[in-house]
Amino acid sequence: MRSREEWQLLGNSLFLGLTVSFLATLMGSFTGIVLFKCDIPFKVPLALSLFVPIFLPPYIPAISWMDIIGANWIDNQWAGFLGSVLCLLNIYFPVPLGISMLFLASVNPRYEEAARLIYPQREVIKRITIPLVMPGFLLSFFLVFVLSVGNFNVPSLFRLKVYPVESFTVFSAFYDFERAIALSIPLVIIILMLFIPLSLFLLKKSCIPLSLGFKNVSKGLDLGRFKWPIFTFLLLLSFVFCILPLGNIVFDSLSLDAYRLAFSRGGDAIMRSLFYSFFSASIMAFFGFLIAYAKDFKIFPHLSVIDAILLFLFSLPGNCLALGLIDLWNREYTGMVYGSFMIIVLGFISRYAIFSSTIIYLWLSLIPKVLDEAARVFGVRVIKRILFIQVPLSKMGILASWMISFIFCFRDTDLVMPLYPPGLEPVTVRTFTLMANGRSDMIAALCTMTMVVPLLFFVLIYQAFRVRRP
């Protein structure tokens, strides 16, 4: 932090991150509550349209927004800032939306039912529901902040001077890897400083029990005279965040030939992306659970160091992390790993394992310890306690962490771009490299497939999950 420019970079980065995370958490959490708790029509299509942008790598909505806004603002920093905020909101809005809905689903309905005897429904939400899901809001704020301050594509396209852009410039124009890493350190320190109080706060909230098998089914809060204005607001959000930036892409792709070509050029890459993401997310969920369990039950001391390391890796620019991994794994005896898909899986785990360990830990900390202790008193072994108490009670948390990890692995570009083994590129890289002078309808079809395929994949998994429910 020697020069005025570096302070300016830090200021811009923080201002951008805080603005986006504040707005995204406010809007996403509000929308989550409305969609989960209220009698709004067309809930499913609205929710789907709002979730869709998260499946795309950030550069696609960013390019769409550039097309919409045009170049007239090109030298204006404030316009660049507003453009970046709008675009990052578009990309990360689904994070608080999803997390708030997930936490709402976990609230014990008996608390709300008891409160409903005294208060009207709206007061119940204000006094009971919102305080109970507050950890989810804070987690959303933190995640969106980390994602926003670390994003390179959007501020670069909107000419906003922030740390990731500077780091990328040093990395790509000067090939100065060490300085690129050094430039990301101030933000990493700030992220770690935010993480510590957040963890302490979340730990304090651990006394709130989960619904423990009671399904939180909302009857649908009557919004009264606010129903149609709120519905209009959600329609507007859906229009701004989905139809406006992505409608153009879908419209461009509307020809059979485009899809035929997209499938022949990118079908294998989509399958590979599904595989990489599925495999990585599953490993992360497994180890994330073990770490979270060990932390929750304080099996080993100082386990929070693991969180700090994972957070550090997550906060690093993807390309710096990739080059670090190359340095580590491109050796004579580890060539098998480096030359195979495992290097991508390792990359994803290094970058996104923080999601699974944090979310599952948060979930486990909400489960009353008394259940595990009771089983232990009766001599039940730890493996059985994990399999028959902790895993069933935290399955929603595990599933949520798995889904979030899957999505982030599926859409990743900057980490895998310098890392993928020859001939094994995922779909985001394939789309990116084909975009240069490729047929626009084919690229549009490839983008549409990139949005739709993981959605269908989730639906399939959901169906498999649903079968066993009575």
Binding site: L157, T169, S172, F279, R331, Y338, P422, T433
Partner: protein
């Protein structure tokens, strides 16, 4: 729960098997690993044709100028101690020189390089140029006047109407470095100063510059010929002008592709065969007739009517080695100029 776990396990297993199949390299199967920064749309068919002709399997890592070619350049530098690539097909020769200076390349004088003009290849055989792009002016047709020189960026009549890609990256850096050679230090610094004074806008890439001009948001820009050609083929109202073609003009900066062998390549023989193939007249003809319409460097290669043969162009006379050296020198200046 058990059922769910079983389903997840089964999916993992299927994916794992699918992921592992055909990844094992049979000892008899010949393979070449090539890193490519020429656009995938144009390079992939060439590499496929190489496989069909020779039976040597090509494993490629593609990059794009939009990503500032960071993928392969940084990867090659990072892999220096244990190289994975056999060949690098670069979309310009300047960064080939950077790699040579970093000790990443090994010389190979392909027999097919003999008929390529001396100025487009390294005298020691570290890299060889083929199929070139030109740095051209893309102009929106609604403009009444047409710029003819890169010095038109400084003309008051074009104030605020022109755009140029970020000079820290891609072929724009090479072009600016070439200007430092032909105009001299002072002339080039004055040119950069003039760009600012004449409110020339900065885009993130040549592709974006071409799009801005195609949409009429700016009157003209300096881009690579394939960027201009692709917008013309898409039907945008733009035309391409080779700049500085008059007698005393600077000439048009030519950016050949460059191919090079990596030092310590795991498959050097296959790598050399791929280099021979890329330097053949047949590949130059294919690239000339493809959508990028690149200019062949071999004499006597059949070309489409709209391509100007290299011998008919007034070419900016520069030594690419000097340009590369200058490029590394001026990067801090360009960064400062960009306000970064």
């Amino acid at each position: 729960m058990k059922r769910l776990l079983l389903v997840l396990f089964a999916i993992n297993l299927v994916f794992l098997l699918a992921g592992c199949q055909n990844k094992k390299e049979s000892p008899k199967e010949k393979t070449v690993v090539v890193y490519v920064s020429e656009d995938q749309v144009f390079s992939e068919p060439i590499l496929r044709a190489f496989y069909e002709e020779t039976g040597i399997k090509v494993k490629a890592v593609y990059d794009t100028e939009e990503a500032k070619s960071t993928g392969v350049m940084n990867r090659l530098i990072s892999e220096r101690s244990n190289p994975r690539a056999d060949v690098y097909w670069a979309n310009e020769p300047i960064r080939a020189e950077v790699l040579r200076l970093k000790g990443i390349l090994t010389p190979y004088n392909s027999p097919n390089a003999k008929t390529i003009p001396q100025e487009f290849k390294d005298p020691d055989g570290y890299w060889t140029g083929f199929s070139a792009r030109a740095r051209v002016l893309i102009v929106n047709k609604k403009e009444m006047e047409r710029p003819q020189s890169i010095m038109d960026f400084l003309e008051p009549k074009w104030r605020g109407k022109a755009v140029i890609a970020n000079p820290l990256f891609g072929t724009t850096t090479s072009h600016i470095a070439a200007l430092f050679i032909v105009l001299g230090e002072k002339g080039a610094r004055d040119f950069l100063k003039g760009l600012k004074e004449n409110q020339v806008a900065i885009s993130t890439s040549n592709g974006e510059s071409a799009d801005f001009v195609a949409k009429g948001e700016y009157a003209f820009s300096l881009v690579d010929s394939d960027d201009a050609i692709s917008r013309m083929k898409k039907g945008f109202p733009v035309e391409m002008i080779y700049p500085d073609q008059k007698d005393k003009g600077l000439g048009c900066f030519i950016v050949p592709n460059a191919v090079m062998l990596i030092k310590g390549a795991p498959h050097p023989e296959e790598g050399k065969r791929l280099i021979d193939y890329l330097l053949s007249k047949e590949v130059e003809k294919r690239l000339a007739f493809s959508d990028c319409e690149q200019i062949p460097l071999h004499k006597g290669v059949e070309i489409p009517q709209n391509i100007v043969p290299i011998e008919n162009l007034k070419v900016m006379k520069v030594d690419y080695k000097l340009v590369a050296k200058k490029m590394m020198e001026i990067q801090p200046l360009l960064k400062k100029w960009m306000g970064l």
